[in-house]
Subunit: 243 residues, 2 copies
């Protein structure tokens, strides 16, 4: 039986890929993904059949994967980061109901929360919440409820999709809500282009984060009440008693 | 300047390691870690100096890393999963204040949330909270507040350290709290020994999860109100409108 391997490339799609992901890409004759990610791996795997659809055509891309696998060949469906975190894994299972003869395996990757945390220092040493500010598929009221709950319970908060052209003020709105529960000097961080050319990061207060410029390649971290800056890095202490 | 590379091995410490992590281990003459993790990589890197301390001696292990790096050689400090998620990264920065001449770099790995999700299906397609039930370093009241907040705001919840000998009933207590906000038939999953020999998983209702047997190698996932079972896998739909 041929299989679809839904494969996370990690943030940078090169060294941050797992050994397992690399082996999957070597094995599968067909690689399917959004154009931007395909372009990141095309040179490394020159002998493959690369197929793509434009952004927002996720359903078509999944169907394409099942059609190709139906021809009896293994298919790698690639995503940035982890295919299992806001990635294509869920949709593949949903559409897979129509293709019971094709197997599905998820190959995990480094998600932006892990990759971004490593750039900033160690912000995720304690309980954390991951929230996407994209309201394309989720009502804003639900996002707002989650932001408030995470802020009140003192989770470190990792924000995916902090803004886009249509949602320029969403991060500011989120920070405003969090400021009802946390101090303005709460340590925050943002990382842009994790693992790629032009990777950059900034550590700043929650108050200043409100007016920070972000885009769809930025991941934002809001510290908990214990998060501190040590030698220019963002660190949430775990609380080992004997330090 | 010599450096400490705080390196996540991923759940299974072999194919789920990143290419970058592998290169770091190849490069560093000294590898330090908890005995269990050292044993997982000893064969693959036979020419290294391996150093270790028993469990709970994390501070000693960090100091050992700085002492070795102080001798002018690069050191890999290895952890299971992601060094940046409940790992050693934070403590290394804290202790690093005393060793300003040694550089620190964090090399991310696949954490149990990513690795376990891939085994179960696609539970983390939407906002999620990661909570450790270990109250060794955190007051139980804080953990309880976080469980309640995450349950009420309909986060998918990923639980690390669900139980140990001393905390046999903690998962049951956590489920009891979550049942105040979620239906008994809420789809849940648990994964044991992710990426290692004896890997196993089970998908079950929140009501049944209350009485499930777990140990320190188990990661637990509690679905949100939309999470469903598709062909025996745990899937949280993202909500793509055009499906």
């Amino acid at each position: 039986m041929s299989k679809i391997y839904v494969t996370g490339l990690g943030p940078g799609a090169s060294d941050q890929m797992t050994v397992q992901a690399k082996k999957v890409l070597e094995k599968c004759p067909v690689i399917i993904g959004y154009t931007v990610y395909i372009d990141l791996i095309r040179e490394e795997f020159p002998d493959k059949i690369f197929l793509s659809t434009p952004m927002r055509r996720e359903v078509d891309r999944c169907r394409m994967a099942f059609e190709e696998a139906g021809k009896g060949q293994d298919v790698a469906m690639v995503c940035s980061g982890d295919a299992g975190i806001y990635g294509m894994a869920g949709l593949i299972f949903e559409i897979g109901k129509e293709y019971p003869e094709v197997g599905v395996e998820i190959v995990p990757g480094i998600t932006a929360a892990s990759g971004g945390a490593a750039v900033l220092g160690a912000p995720l040493m304690h309980d954390f919440a991951v929230i996407s500010l994209s309201d394309l598929l989720t009502p804003w009221e639900k996002i707002e409820k989650r932001i408030r709950a995470a802020a009140e319970a003192d989770f470190v908060i990792c924000i995916y999709n902090p803004s886009s052209k249509k949602r320029a003020d969403y991060l500011k709105k989120a920070c405003g809500m969090i400021l009802e529960y946390r101090k303005p000097e709460t340590v925050c961080g943002m990382v842009r282009n994790i693992g790629r050319d032009g990777e950059s990061y900034e550590i700043l207060s929650l108050e200043r984060l409100q007016d920070a410029q972000t885009d769809m390649f930025t991941t934002v971290f809001i510290g908990n009440s214990d998060t501190m800056v040590i030698n220019g890095r963002m660190v949430t202490p775990r609380g080992y008693r004997d330090v």
